[in-house]
Amino acid sequence: MGPWHPETELIAYLDGSLAGEARARVAAHLDGCAECRAALEDFGGLLARLAATAPEPPPLSWGRYGVDLRVRREARQGAGWWMFRPLQAALSVGLVAVLLVLAVQSTGPRPIANGGLAALEVASGVRLDVIRTYTLLERLDLLEDLDVIVQLDRLAPGSEG
């Protein structure tokens, strides 16, 4: 480990925040170290030079600046949450759209419109209402037969079903 040389202590020494023993230690070191004395002098010179020569920004129209600021402030005050949260707003809209699509799809197969049935009847030459009735009648006949079968033992001999 080499000899100690103050580094950030030089900054504190320059800005006057170094006090007591710490300051005395740095001062004693500077008395015997030309390199650190040169660094201290250069740092001080740089800070002073920067303070004296800070460039000025391009000029602004302060009237325009004030107007723009007022417009932005009024826009912010009148804006809803969605103006400041565009991503959340977009996600919310998207979610609602997805839910709507899912809701529509979940209602099951859509019934065939009457116009569709008529076309099917014409194409097949069959009366679909008769088919539906026939199916019902067929089932009723079967149920009646079942009823007869169940009550066979109660039916009088010689009766016809």
């Binding site: 580094e7 950030t8 030089l10 900054i11 504190a12 800005d15 925040s17 660094a39 250069d42 740092f43 740089l46 800070l47 030079r49 920067l50 303070a51 004296a52 020569t53 800070a54 460039p55 000025e56 920004p57 391009p58 602004l60 302060w62 600046y65 004030g66 723009d68 600021l69 932005r72 402030r73 912010r76």
Partner: protein, 189 residues
């Protein structure tokens, strides 16, 4: 008697728009200059300094008065500028590097205050000053912020630490590294 910045800020928090306008008038020049020093772009400096005022307006009720108003406001502005630089870093890397002096509308040298020096040294001194500020522009964001706040805004190390929301020792580290770099740059010339 003129109201203090802290009193005005409290009134802004209570909805006093006139107090806000007065604070803007007091700080607009400093805010724009500080933003420009950190960003070196007049349009961005204007936009971000206005954004800082808008945030001040929105959050004035939260200002408790424990720190000076200028410290609190500068912290808002510096954070905005540093965040902006961070967000646009990739874009600035893609674009060809441009010297700060070329980037601005008026060369840096022409915007220096008139030097009170021997005319024979003036040209050389102005050239050195330009190179010095170009070197400042190449410092890291933290080092540059510390340098600008101390030299341009005249803040003490403690105040710089409050604005940058770090310890004083950290500010001294930034300053020491910045000055070491600047010293090397000038010695190489």
């Amino acid at each position: 008697m003129e109201p203090t910045d802290e009193a005005l800020c409290r009134r802004v928090g209570e909805g006093d728009e006139a107090a806000f306008d007065l604070l803007v008038a007091r700080y607009q020049g400093r805010a724009y200059r500080l933003a420009w020093s950190l960003l070196r772009d007049a349009d961005e400096a204007r936009d971000l300094s206005q954004e800082a005022f808008l945030r001040l307006h929105r959050n004035a009720a939260r200002f408790e008065g424990r720190a000076r108003f200028s410290t609190w406001f500068y912290r808002i502005l510096v954070n905005l500028c540093l965040d902006h630089r961070r967000r646009t870093r990739w874009w600035r890397r893609i674009m060809a590097p441009v010297d700060a002096a070329e980037e601005s509308e008026t060369p840096l040298v022409e915007r220096q205050p008139a030097p009170l020096l021997d005319p024979a040294d003036t040209v050389e001194r102005e050239r050195t000053t330009t190179r010095l500020w170009q070197a400042v522009d190449r410092l890291s964001a933290q080092q540059r912020t510390a340098v600008v706040l101390q030299t341009q805004e005249g803040l003490s190390t403690a105040e710089v630490a409050a604005v940058m929301n770090c310890a004083e020792a950290t500010v001294r580290v930034h300053l020491h590294r910045a000055l070491t770099t600047l010293r090397k740059t000038l010695r190489q010339e």
